[in-house]
């Protein structure tokens, strides 16, 4: 078989119904009509995927929940000597077969950053790893860029299928779904009937046309050293971030931000250790126990955010920028700070000076 | 409606009481000394003054699952700290009027003034409030997930 | 200031005390207060009804208030203190138990209609100052003493009007009408009330005492605000004279008549000629 199927618009729910029997299927869906809030949620019969509008929140939480229990613990007193106790530990995993349907290339590509951090190197993050292994991505070839999108600027594009197991290609009357990995192909082949040659051709055409689109004007890779040069130029950073309200929304919506903190929540004799999202834009993020804070103001914190994505990360991981160009940080920023402009100006003015 | 069904219908009612040390805690002592029979649902937390009450303590109790919250202090003008209960009165009244807007049953929260000598009044307050709470039944708590919710439109 | 009140005359003002009714209406007309009749009003129940069944008494009086309320009025004025007491009782009873009224009479009433006396209207709503300004024919060089009787100010928590033991409202109004008001210690002593029918000697003694004190302080006339007091003091004055071998000759006028005269309303309209003790001396300038 070709590893492709065609799903008509009206057959999409049927397909998702079938898939949801085998997988926990996540789809972008309308969460609140009044505010037009779209985010990824678990599919249940009756829910409609939103495939023509971008989601406000990324699918990051599917592999990296905002709050993740690592293990549960219980103190057990020694009845003979109640001063002594033992601790019962219980692992906590939640990682059944999962399918992310309808994420955009930028969304899926965001996990590349996670893979570098959590899977490569000496220590692997077992929680992330198990989820990653059990999750398939059916990624939409993206037709809906807006003024904040810049995936092409970070080495990607609206048809970039890096990290995807399947491509979902919108054509007249429905979608062609194409398996890209073995697992993807296997799933596709058991899920429907092949497209007609015309449909297959239309899909190929759509892929080509989309891949040719350039979303974002400038190339934002290769700024690693510019940042280093800019590091102590506090006037530059003040100019960039004076409107910033350090709310951290940019980090919360970002598909590549992976900062977390680990805390114990206990009551009485038992509790759990959990990992939850944290944000480098917060004062408390770097606050040290004694009270010193190496990043006391938003200038240092925002510099770190830009620096991490466009300088420190690429220096460590073969030039890979830890930004997928989804534009969410720009779109949701209450004060419209534009990371593209900041990165660009790292160089421009630095060049001027040189 | 998940947690609603989780809530054990038969579980013991628990009412959190915040009592100021000088008047109402003493009033509750007096009621005890006089052996005035009262329901056992109340769990008293001793605070120095109702002025110590941050309305958020009441909210926290309700969210945590308290079936009722009773705050009692010195009568206005009798505050050991002169004015603590005046502040508390305003803050608690704002809260009381606010709770139903967020969907809380405001009857689960009551504030009152009982002096150290008013053992009998304390008995009445506790009995009456406990009856109110028993009528309302256990606090179902917040729903942990919401499947369908009413929409409100303001445009 | 109240401009429009429901008017509940009560039974006396339809009969024995018709001059009270006339003078109230005339005075209110002149003072610009609209009296709105209560359609199909009924007896307040007086003493017998509540002695027999408190709910009956309250419901009878309450019905009048409920009708007034349905006319959009929230104040009912009555000249008769006894009716006033009945109306106030109705308010008190049904404020606490409005459902009972609905059960009995099938109409809603929650005890929210204020009941006041004509004296209260004159003193609290209009006020002596306004009246003084309106006076055209002051009672110069006349002494008039006020007699309040039992009910107008008592029991204090119930009446909520004036000082219970030493009321001064009528004093002030009489002063406004231009007359002198000597201190009158018996202003709230009992006149014997309805015992005039069953134990007339009691009334003779009590009323006689009041008249005696009025004469002792040099009064030219007495002012009253209660039909029953008026009856005992005025109509029975002759009986008192006979019983006590006295020769009291003290005119007893309603406060509304006194103010009415001072305002220049003609005496016939005020029903002065209906009084038993002749008033001629009072209107001769000294």
């Amino acid at each position: 078989m070709s590893g492709k199927i065609f799903v008509a618009h009206d057959a999409l729910s049927g397909l998702l119904d079938d898939l949801s029997k085998k997988f926990k299927v996540w789809i972008p869906q309308m969460m609140d009509q009044a505010s037009g809030h779209i985010a990824f949620g678990v599919y249940a019969p009756g829910k409609k995927p939103e495939l023509t509008r971008r989601s406000r929140l990324s699918p990051k939480k599917i592999l990296f929940p905002s709050m993740d229990t690592l293990f549960k613990f219980t103190y057990v007193k020694d009845p003979k000597d109640p001063v002594r106790y033992t601790i019962d530990l219980k692992e906590s995993f939640d990682n059944g077969p999962t399918l992310v349907f309808g994420a955009r290339p930028c969304d899926t590509r965001g996990f590349q950053t996670f893979d570098q951090v959590f899977l490569k190197g000496q220590y692997k993050d077992v929680y992330y790893e198990r989820r990653r292994q059990n999750t398939l991505f059916a990624t939409l070839v993206c037709q809906d860029s807006d003024t904040a999108c810049f995936c092409s600027s970070v080495g990607s594009g609206p048809a970039d299928m890096t990290g995807s197991d399947m491509a979902v290609i919108p054509i007249e009357g429905g979608y062609v779904i194409e398996g890209l990995t073995d697992a993807g192909r296997k799933l596709v082949e058991t899920s429907g009937s092949a497209p007609s040659p015309e449909q297959a051709a239309a899909a190929e055409q759509m892929k080509r046309n989309t891949a040719a689109l350039k979303i974002g004007e400038d190339d934002l890779t290769g700024y690693a050293d510019d940042l280093t040069r800019r590091f102590t130029d506090m006037d530059f950073w003040r100019e960039q971030v004076s409107p910033c309200i350090t709310c951290g929304v940019c980090t919360w919506v970002c598909p590549t931000c992976y900062c977390f903190s680990i805390t114990d929540e206990a009551s009485g004799m038992s509790g759990e250790r959990m990992r939850s999202w944290d944000s480098c834009m917060f004062y408390l993020y770097t606050l040290e126990a004694r009270g010193h804070n190496p990043r006391p103001t938003k200038m240092e914190r925002y510099r770190n955010r830009v620096g991490h994505k466009f300088s420190y990360f690429p220096k460590k991981y073969d030039g890979m920028v830890s930004c997928c160009g989804c534009g969410r940080c720009i779109r949701t920023c209450p004060v419209s700070i534009d990371i593209r402009k900041v990165v660009k100006e790292l160089k421009e003015t630095a060049d001027d000076r040189a | 409606m998940s947690s609603k069904s989780d809530a054990k219908q038969e579980r013991e009612i628990k009412i959190v009481g915040f009592l100021c040390n000088w008047c109402s805690y003493g009033g509750a002592d007096t009621a005890g000394v006089c052996r005035f029979r009262q329901p056992t649902d109340l769990r008293i937390i001793r605070i120095p003054c109702t002025g110590r009450i941050d309305p958020l303590m009441i909210v926290k109790s309700l969210i945590q699952g308290a079936d009722g919250v009773l705050v009692s202090g010195c009568h206005p003008n009798d505050c050991h700290y002169a004015v603590g209960n005046f502040y508390a009165r305003r803050r608690m009244e704002v809260l009381k009027r606010f709770l139903p807007y967020m969907g809380f049953q405001s009857d689960r929260f009551r504030y009152t003034w009982v002096s150290a000598s008013e053992g009998q009044i304390w008995q009445q307050v506790v009995t009456d409030f406990s009856e109110t709470i028993h009528r309302l039944g256990p606090n179902p708590g917040l729903h942990q997930t919401v499947d369908s919710a009413p929409a409100v439109s303001w445009f | 200031m109240l401009k429009r009140v429901a008017y509940y005359p009560g039974c006396s003002c339809e009969g024995m005390a018709i001059e009270y009714d006339q003078s109230v209406r005339a005075l209110c007309y002149v003072l610009g207060i609209e009296l709105v009749g209560i359609p199909d009003w009924n007896c307040c129940g007086s003493t017998p009804s509540h002695s027999y069944d408190p709910l009956l008494g309250a419901a009878l009086a309450g019905r009048n208030l409920a009708i007034a309320r349905s006319q959009g009025l929230d104040v009912v004025m009555t000249p008769c203190p006894s009716c006033l007491k009945a109306l106030k009782t109705a308010n008190q009873v049904f404020r606490e138990r409005p459902s009972e009224f609905l059960d009995v009479l099938g109409m809603p009433f929650s005890g929210d209609v204020r009941a006041i006396s004509v004296l209260q209207l004159l003193y609290e709503e209009i006020g002596p100052n306004l009246i003084q300004k309106a006076v055209k024919f002051p009672f110069k060089n006349k002494k008039i003493v006020p007699y309040y009787g039992c009910l107008l100010t008592r029991p204090p928590a119930f009446a909520q009007f004036d000082d219970p033991e030493n009321p001064v409202s009528m004093d002030r109004l009489i002063e406004a009408a231009g007359a002198a008001v000597p201190d009158f210690p018996h202003k709230t002593e009992c006149c014997g009330a309805a015992l005039g029918i069953t134990q007339r000697d009691v009334v003779m003694r009590l009323t006689g005492r009041i008249l005696d004190m009025a004469r002792a302080v040099g009064a030219d006339a007495l002012a009253v605000a209660c039909p029953l007091c008026q009856q005992n003091l005025d109509l029975r004055q002759d009986q008192v004279n006979r019983a006590l071998k006295e020769n009291f000759n003290l005119p007893v006028l309603y406060i509304t008549q006194i103010i009415g005269c001072a305002l220049g309303i003609d005496r016939k309209t005020l029903g002065i000629e209906k009084l038993a003790v002749k008033t001629d001396a009072l209107f001769q300038s000294a």
């Binding site: 860029s145 709310c247 903190s261 | 809260l95 969907g103 919710a149 409100v152 303001w154 | -």
Partner: protein
Amino acid sequence: MDDKTNALREHVKGIFSNLELVLGWEPGYDPLHTRPFYVRTESDIDRLTANCLSFQNLTRYLAKSMNAVDPAADGRKIGVCVKGCDSRSLVALIQEKFVSRDRVYVIGLPCRGTLDARRIRALVPDPARIRSVNAEGDELVVETDRGISRFALDRAIARKCLQCRYPNPVIHDVLIGDPVTPRLKIDAENPSVAAVEALSLEDRLLFWENQLDRCIRCFACRNACPLCVCQNHCIMETRMPKWITQYRNMNEKFMFHMIHALHLAGRCTECGECERVCPVGIPVALIKEKINAIIYEMLDYESGIDPEAVPPLLTFSPKETGI
């Protein structure tokens, strides 16, 4: 707000030598966005804009980012552009002594309403390609790649603007533009609050749970609020005292918003920033609006009106009856 860019620039040019800096707005990354702008030099002035996209409440920066309490040594003031709602925040900050009145030069801008980007996107056929947006009186003109559309302004402005009672700055050193008639009377019922109250108690709970369940605890609402002055020391984040756990469940989300609302009781000036910045579209301001209504009804108090008034929960009256 109608476009007052030119008048604003002219005025700022005239007084700039007396000012340390001016807080204003400049165009953002696309025609639907605006960002706060610190005018630090003479040449910055021509970047200033003031129009229906001047969303941000700039008084937020006065207390949080700069020391606006003590008059500067050289006597130069901080200029700040305020809409009607923003001016109330400024008054509240002065009330609470976070800003000294002598330290600020207040440039007042009467305002017919600022846009709600979400509503505009729903209105125009090609929301991703908007070229320009302009308010002209009661009308909004939107130009996209596909042409020009005109709408009634009311269809595009924010919820808070539809129920605006203070469109004109309550405090200002200069007023740019003519005063605007308020949409609601001061004692008018808040229509959005009434809409929530029309629900049954059970439905209200479900309504809020549904809204607050989306909360991702990013704290944008808190950080945007000009009166959330605790900033880096908010009890939402501290572990001592521990009011909130790290759990991301309904209890904690609800508790967060109750903390936020009750900390603003008697202080919130209804600038609506919390709601505008919420990335998940929770009507956050609606919670505080109810508390404001309660306090208005109970204590006849509105925050951000009288710089001399004491916030009502920081004072008392022994004679209060009916409480």
